[in-house]
Amino acid sequence: MSVLTPHRHPGLNLGHTDPETHREAEETLFGFWVFLMSDLVLFALLFATYASMLGATDGGPGPRDVFEVSSAALETGVLLLSSLTMGMASIAMKYKEPPHRLYGWLAATLVLGLVFLGLEARDFIKMASEGATPQRSGWLSAFYALVSTHGLHVAAGCVWLALSIVQLAVFGLRSEVKLRIMRLALFWHLLDVVWIFIFSVVYLGGLA
């Protein structure tokens, strides 16, 4: 229990391990949380569009023709694992573990993020080669809009991860760098939540 922290913010709280940064974090992270919630509304509306377009295949390929459960499951596993490594990175940062651990966990998260993007790109290329391109039907347009918006978020998260590693090397574990990594962790965990919905609604729902 942290005696010094009457207020908590989303994500791992630094608490008494760094009281000064913790006080700063309260406001900064709440502001970022507001952004994340608005981002969630954006995704919800893409989901609503997708749901409205279910069945609008115009005689073209449908979910059963183009989805592969094994590939979607693998992507889910990779993203879940990356959430765990991001959590480990947060803990390594909070408890001032030897720097190579923090670098290691951040690098592992970055690699997993890139593997996820690679798998998704492979899915898209395979779908396109089967004639399932965004312009083929309303359903496919909605599918690509939703899934690639998530993919773009993950790509942005990867850039952010790479920049965090550079900033750590240049500035060390300064307060600002810590706050950025804490926001990155929130962003990354929330993307995982969005993916759970994509996996459940789009992939599993389409194949069930």
Partner: protein
């Protein structure tokens, strides 16, 4: 702050991430199995829906550390408000367009 308290808190937080991860994997696997086993659609939808919602709660609780504690800032209220907006906007969209689709058939 003493080293022992730090160690204790660290172990607790470490466990939180690992437990959250294990639960998330379990719920994903359950939903996946239902689809792979080829269960009847209505049952499958129900299991997938329940597993997905449970998993979202797990992620918020164990990864994003959102709780019922009174000391938690307005984060939980913000989540609930966002949920309301999402239900209104996404639910409303699906309802209206579904109805329209039905009438055009």
């Amino acid at each position: 702050m003493s080293v022992e308290i730090d160690e204790h808190e660290k172990r607790r937080e470490l466990r939180s991430y690992v437990v959250g991860f294990a639960m998330a994997v379990g719920l994903t696997a359950a939903a996946l199995l239902v689809v792979v086993a080829g269960m009847a659609s209505s049952t499958a939808y129900a299991v997938i829906g329940v597993a997905a919602l449970a998993q979202v709660v797990v992620h918020f609780r164990f990864f994003l550390h959102i709780g019922w504690k009174r000391s938690t800032r307005d984060d939980l209220q913000l989540i609930l408000f966002t949920t309301l907006i999402i239900v209104l906007m996404a639910g409303g969209t699906i309802w209206i367009l579904g109805n329209l689709h039905h009438r055009m058939m």
